[in-house]
C-alpha cells in the first residue's frame, strides 16, 4: 500500500469547479454515457472508477472536448463550456495526461515541455526555458532534457507526461488511466506523484483509473460509472464501506479470485 497522506479535502464552495449535467454520448447504436451527472469540487483528487468499457475515458474526452457529447452540459466555474466558443475557457485552465502519454516523439524532452508554454505565449522565451528546466529538475528529468521520448524508460515517460501537463500551472488536470500497464511498484509511484504534486501545486485532479485501492487512499471524492450511468458519488471513506456488491467485488478482488479457485 502506498504511504501518502490523504489528499487535501475539497474546499466547500457554492459553485463547483466542474459540473457535468445529463451528459449523453453514443457511438452508432451503442450508448456509452447515459445522463451522467456529477460535480468536481475545487482542490483535491476526484477518481472516476468503473469496469473496463463503462465509458470512463469517453467521459473524460467529452469533458475536455475531444469528443462532442450528444447532449448535456459541462460547467466550469459556472460557465457552460459545452456551448460553442466557451470550450476555450476550460482548455486554457486545464491539462490532460493521456493513457499512453502522447509525448511528441519528434521533439526532445525539453521541446515537449516548451510547447505548452509557447502555445500559452505568456512568458518570454528565456523564462519559458527556465520554467521548463525547473520542473524537469523536480521530476528528475533534467539530464534527459536533450533526449527523445523514445529513449526514456516507461517511468520517465510518465513523469515527463505529468511534467508537461503541469508546466502551464493548470487549475485542473485530467489523468486518463495514468497507471495502465504498470507494475504495482510503478503504479504506487504514479499515485504518490499525483498526490504529492496535487498537494504542492494545489490543482484539482480528475483521475480515471481501475486501481480501486490506490484511488481510495489518494482521492477526496469517488465517482463510480457503471454501464454509462453514475452509480455512486461520494467520499472515498463512504465508498470504502459501501455495501454495493459491485464495489466490494472491485475492492476485494483478490479474495474473489481466491474464492473462485477453491
Amino acid at each position: 500500500m502506498i504511504e501518502v497522506p490523504l489528499a487535501n479535502p475539497p474546499t466547500e464552495t457554492v459553485t463547483p469547479l466542474l459540473e457535468v449535467r445529463l451528459l449523453r454520448k453514443g457511438f452508432g447504436s451503442k450508448q456509452v454515457l447515459r445522463d451522467v451527472n456529477f460535480t468536481v469540487p475545487r482542490g483535491g483528487i476526484v477518481s472516476i472508477l468503473g469496469r473496463s468499457g463503462t465509458g470512463k475515458s469517453v467521459l473524460l474526452r467529452c469533458i475536455v472536448g475531444l469528443h462532442d457529447a450528444d447532449s448535456g452540459d459541462i460547467f466550469f466555474h459556472g460557465i457552460n463550456v459545452s456551448e460553442p466558443g466557451q470550450r476555450i475557457q476550460l482548455r486554457n485552465a486545464s491539462s490532460y495526461v493521456f493513457q499512453h502519454n502522447a509525448l511528441f516523439d519528434s521533439a526532445t524532452v525539453l521541446e515537449n515541455m516548451l510547447l505548452p508554454l509557447q502555445a500559452q505565449g505568456i512568458l518570454p522565451a528565456e523564462q519559458q526555458r527556465d520554467k521548463a528546466m525547473e520542473l524537469l529538475r523536480r521530476m528528475e528529468l533534467e539530464d534527459a532534457s536533450n533526449r527523445f521520448p523514445a529513449e526514456l524508460s516507461g517511468g520517465m515517460q510518465k513523469r515527463l507526461a505529468v511534467a508537461r501537463a503541469l508546466v502551464t500551472d493548470p487549475k485542473v488536470v485530467f489523468f486518463d488511466e495514468p497507471t495502465a500497464g504498470l507494475d504495482p511498484i510503478r503504479r504506487n509511484a504514479v499515485f504518490e506523484m499525483i498526490a504529492r504534486l496535487q498537494k504542492e501545486r494545489g490543482f484539482t485532479a480528475v483521475v480515471v483509473t481501475h486501481d480501486v485501492q490506490e484511488a481510495i487512499i489518494v482521492s477526496s471524492k469517488i465517482v463510480w460509472l457503471d454501464e454509462g450511468y453514475v452509480l455512486f458519488t461520494g467520499s472515498a471513506q463512504e465508498f470504502a464501506s459501501h455495501p454495493e456488491p459491485k464495489f466490494s467485488q472491485f475492492r476485494d478482488n483478490l479474495e474473489a479470485l481466491r474464492q473462485s479457485l477453491r
Partner: protein, 258 residues
C-alpha cells in the same frame, strides 16, 4: 440507379475536395501556431528535400540514360540523330522530370509523412496538440506545405540537369554522338516557357502530394480501420491518391498551357 450512383460519387468527390481545401487553408492560416516556425521549416526541408536527393538523382540519371539510348536509335532511323539533345531536354523539362520527381517524392517523403501523421493520430499526439491550444494542422502540416512550394521545383530542376547529363552519357559517351551538337541542341531547344511549365508543374504536384498525404495521415482514424492498420491504409491512400492527382494535374496543366 446508375445515375444515382454517379451522382453520389460526384457529390462525395466535391465534398472531399472541399475538406482537403479547408484542411490546407487551416494549415496555412495557423502555420505560426506553437511557435518555432523557422526550425520546423528547416527540419521539414531536410526531411522532404535532402532525404529525397539520392533517389531523385538515381532516377534522373537512369531516365536520362534510357532517353539517350532510345532517342539515339529512334532518331537514327529518320536520320535525325543530331536532334538527341532536343528530344532529351524537352522530354525531361516539359514532362518527365516534374512527373517522375513528384512520384518519387510521393513514394519517399509522402509515405513517410502519411505514416508519421497516422502514428501521431493513433498515439493521441494530435489530440494533445489540440488540447494545448496548438493547431495540429498548422504546426504539423503548414510548414510541410510551405517546404513543398520550393523543394519540389528545386528537386525537379535538379532532375532535369542530372537527366540531360544521363542523356549525354549514353548518347555522346557510349554511342559516340557529337557532344557539342548535343549541348547546342539543348541550348537552342529550351525556351523560358518550357522552364516555366516545368516549375509550375513541380509546384502544383508538390502541393498536391504533401496535401493529400498529410490529409490521409491526419485523418487516418476516419479510415474505418484502427491502430497499425489505419496507418497502413493512410499511407497507401496517400501515395495512390497523390500519384493519380499528379497524372491528372499533369494532363490539365499541359492542356491548358499548350
Amino acid at each position: 440507379m446508375v445515375v444515382s450512383a454517379l451522382g453520389k460519387i460526384a457529390t462525395d468527390s466535391v465534398a472531399a475536395l472541399g475538406r482537403l481545401t479547408c484542411f490546407c487553408l487551416r494549415a496555412f492560416a495557423n502555420i505560426a501556431s506553437g511557435g518555432t516556425l523557422p526550425s520546423r521549416i528547416v527540419r521539414n526541408t531536410y526531411e522532404i528535400g535532402v532525404r529525397c536527393l539520392p533517389v531523385i538523382c538515381i532516377v534522373a540519371v537512369f531516365t536520362g540514360l534510357v532517353l539517350g539510348l532510345q532517342g539515339h536509335y529512334v532518331l537514327s532511323r529518320f536520320g535525325a540523330s543530331g536532334m538527341l539533345g532536343t528530344l532529351v531536354s524537352l522530354s525531361l523539362c516539359r514532362e518527365l522530370a516534374p512527373v517522375l520527381a513528384a512520384i518519387m517524392m510521393a513514394g519517399q517523403a509522402g509515405t513517410a509523412l502519411a505514416a508519421e501523421l497516422g502514428i501521431q493520430r493513433s498515439t493521441e499526439q494530435i489530440d494533445a496538440f489540440e488540447l494545448m491550444g496548438i493547431s495540429a494542422e498548422g504546426y504539423l502540416v503548414g510548414p510541410r506545405l510551405v517546404v513543398a512550394c520550393f523543394v519540389f521545383p528545386v528537386l525537379t530542376a535538379l532532375f532535369v540537369l542530372v537527366g540531360v547529363s544521363g542523356g549525354w552519357l549514353s548518347g555522346c559517351v557510349l554511342l559516340h554522338q557529337d557532344a557539342n551538337g548535343y549541348w547546342a541542341a539543348i541550348h537552342e531547344a529550351i525556351k523560358p516557357s518550357d522552364i516555366f511549365e516545368c516549375l509550375l508543374k513541380a509546384l502544383v504536384f508538390g502541393i498536391l502530394t504533401i496535401a493529400l498525404c498529410s490529409f490521409q495521415g491526419f485523418h487516418s482514424h476516419l479510415s474505418g480501420e484502427a491502430g497499425a492498420r489505419s496507418v497502413s491504409v493512410a499511407t497507401v491512400r496517400g501515395v495512390v491518391f497523390s500519384s493519380i492527382a499528379i497524372l491528372a494535374a499533369d494532363y490539365l496543366i499541359t492542356a491548358f498551357l499548350l
